[in-house]
Each structure stands twice: as C-alpha cells, then as structure tokens.
C-alpha cells in the first residue's frame, strides 16, 4: 500500500505516522529502497540549488567555541525548546541548549510519564568531592531534589535518568553539590531546562 510514497518521503512531506509506516515498508521492499535512493540524489541536489551566501561573521567563531570544553562558568545554560512531539499518553518535550557564554555545554531533556532523560554534553567536571544534582522546580515552590546525582566523563558528557512525578514541573535544574547531594540547592544552577 505504501509503494509510490517515495517522493513524498524524500521531500519530508509524509505525516508522522505515514513516515513511520513507510520506513517499515522500506525494510521489506527493495524496489522502493532503490527509488528512494534515486530520489535522494534529487533532494541532495535541491538543497545545494539555493542561492549561496557567505557565512555571517561570528557564526564560525561561535560554533568552534561551542565545541571546546572550557573552565567552569557561573551563568547557567539556558535551554530553549526546539521541538515538541506529543504522543497520546506522554508529554515529550525535546529541549536544546542555547549558548549564553563562551563555553559550550549543551543539554537535552526528554520527558515521558514519570521520568525524564537528561543528556548533557560538554559540561566541565564538578570540583573534586562534588557532584551534579538534578532538581525539579514548580511554580511558587523551592526546587525539589530528585536523587539524580551525576558526574560527567572526560568529554563532559553524561546521560541521566530522572525519576519522579514530573507533572507541574516548570524547570529542570542542575547544580553542583557536595558528594552525596543536598536537600536544597547550595549553588547557582549550571543548567536550566524549561519543560514546556
């Protein structure tokens, strides 16, 4: 039934459910796979066929700076929402980091039901004997501790699962705390991720 959707698929014009079905169809249909490959040559060329501009000054510098892990910083990473995909029973908010300073930590949050997956990159290591702690902030309330404590690897990366009731949570915060965590935040957040 899906044969014939190759053009709409490579143009990104299928509805979400249709695209899923078509991808499954491609696993089974070599003829459609060939057709998609041929049409992808067209879309690749289309994306090059637009008027070409010189990179705005500053974009190269900002991007290169963003990949270099840097020393600790005082201002939090403001995380802005880029896209939201909503399934019937889940609220899924995908957030993406926006750079606010010279360093380039990024954070991504996925929320589903009673858990959130926090993906952190390029965050400096906490000081010796200290850890990062995740907090849930609701309007008019102090940030609630989650028990999610983490350190980052040498590249500044960590994947953290945060369990707990996430309804009503306005922001997910990360602060640096003494090993073992704290009951109230004792430092300024290094990550602030709004959840809606």
């Amino acid at each position: 039934m899906s044969c014939g959707d190759a053009a709409a698929y490579v143009l990104g014009a299928l509805e979400t459910g249709e695209a899923e079905r078509y991808r499954r169809h491609l696993d089974r249909c070599p003829a459609c796979r060939d057709e998609v490959a041929g049409m992808q040559r067209v879309t690749d060329a289309l994306s090059m066929a637009v008027p070409q501009y010189r990179l705005p000054s500053g974009l190269r510098r900002r991007t290169l700076r963003a990949i270099r892990p840097q020393s600790r910083r005082a201002t939090p990473v403001r995380v802005a929402i880029m896209a939201a995909a909503v399934a019937a029973s889940l609220i899924v908010a995908i957030t993406f980091a926006r750079m606010t300073g010279p360093a380039g930590p990024t954070a991504q949050v996925r929320i589903g039901g009673a858990r959130a997956e926090l993906t952190v990159r390029h965050l400096p290591s906490p000081a010796p004997g200290r850890v990062y702690e995740v907090w849930l902030e609701r309007p008019n309330a102090a940030p609630a501790p989650t028990g999610a404590l983490f350190r980052v690897n040498a590249a500044g990366a960590a994947d953290v699962t945060v369990r707990g009731e996430l309804r009503g949570v306005r922001e997910i915060l990360v602060t640096e705390e003494p090993a073992g965590g704290s009951r109230v935040p004792t430092s300024r957040p290094v990550i602030v991720a709004p959840t809606n």
Partner: protein
C-alpha cells in the same frame, strides 16, 4: 579567497577527505571539525536561510547541526551518503522542526532581517564542482517543471509542509499532491541522469 595555512597540521587536515576527517572528529579532534565546518558551513547556512528567511534562525540551525555532528562523530549516517548530504539533511530536519514548533506557538515569521552577501563565484574543490554542477542542473530542471509540480516540491522541501497541509493550502484532493511530487521528482531525477552520463563521457 586564498586561505593561508596557519600550521603544517592544519594544511595536512585540509588535504583529507571528509570521511577521514569524520574519523578524527570521532576522536574529538577540534581542528578536523574546523575543516569540516569550513567545507560545509556555507552550504548549510544557505539552505537554512532559504528555508527560514531569517538570519538569526538560520544561524541557530547551522550551529545546532554542527554541534550535533561533533557529538555524533563518526556515527553520522554513512548510509545516507556524503557528509555534505548528512549536514544538509540535518539542516532541513531542524528547520522543519522549528517551523512546526513555531506553528504550534506563534506562527511563522518570514521577514528578512539582515542583508547578506551572496556568493558570486565560490572557489571550488573537485567534489564541490561536481555538486555545484548537479545543483545548477537541478535549478534549471526545476525551472522547466510545470508550475503545479514545482510548487508542491518547494512547499514540501523548503517550506516543511506535509502533503496534507499542502492539499489544504492549494485546495487539492488528497492524493493529488503526492502524485505531483512524484512526477516532478522523476523528471528532476532524469535531468541528473543526463548530467551523470555527460560527465562520464557517454555520448
């Protein structure tokens, strides 16, 4: 513009293929990333700008695309073809995500906020020249398509609209939009086929 190599290592890196550079990026080589950015940043920005019509949004998309390439390292989808294809595909996806997000909140702002310098004659590597040739071939072929086919292709690919949204917009029956996309892309593909055989010396 001639770029003076700032070190022997930088010059060596600039001589490498994209694929070899991606392996270094996998090992967190920031200089290799710089070379990849210089090769593909302009095309990424141009596509993002064509799609968003706003310089600041286009810049955000380019930065996110390259940060995501940095994080993925060598795990970018080789199956999808070249690094250039991966980068432009990622730009396209991110632009569409941002459209859909904006549509859900405030509607799309398509104002052009700042003047940009259009490139007249970029300096070309061999691979770049091939890609440019394909791009100009497609541009010409697009110009020869019937308007109704070109329109649905542009709305989908650069505008990020689904076939259902396009059918609503143009008041067309369901199925018609997909049909026009298919006819249009088949013609465009044929035009590339011509180019490929011409480049290969087939008469």
């Amino acid at each position: 513009m001639f770029r003076a190599p700032f070190s022997f290592r930088a010059a060596q890196l600039r001589a490498l293929t994209d694929e070899a550079l991606m392996e270094r990026i996998d090992d967190a080589d920031a200089q290799a990333f710089e070379v990849i950015f210089d090769r593909h940043g302009g095309a990424a920005f141009s596509l993002a700008y064509r799609m968003c019509g706003r310089r600041s949004a286009a810049e955000d998309i380019v930065q996110e695309t390259f940060l995501s390439l940095w994080r993925r390292g060598g795990r970018y989808e080789r199956a999808r073809g070249s690094v250039r294809s991966w980068v432009l595909g990622a730009v396209q996806n991110k632009a569409i995500d941002s459209f859909r997000h904006q549509a859900a909140t405030a509607g799309r702002d398509v104002s052009d906020d700042q003047a940009l310098e259009e490139l007249a004659a970029p300096n070309l590597t061999d691979g770049e020249a091939d890609r440019r040739a394909e791009a100009s071939q497609i541009r010409a072929a697009l110009g020869h398509l019937p308007t109704d086919q070109r329109r649905v292709i542009e709305l989908a690919y650069f505008g990020g609209f689904t076939h259902v949204e396009i059918a609503d917009m143009l008041e067309l029956p369901a199925g018609t939009v997909k049909g026009r996309m298919r006819l249009g892309l088949i013609k465009l593909r044929l035009s590339l086929g011509d180019l490929r055989s011409a480049a290969g010396g087939v008469r």
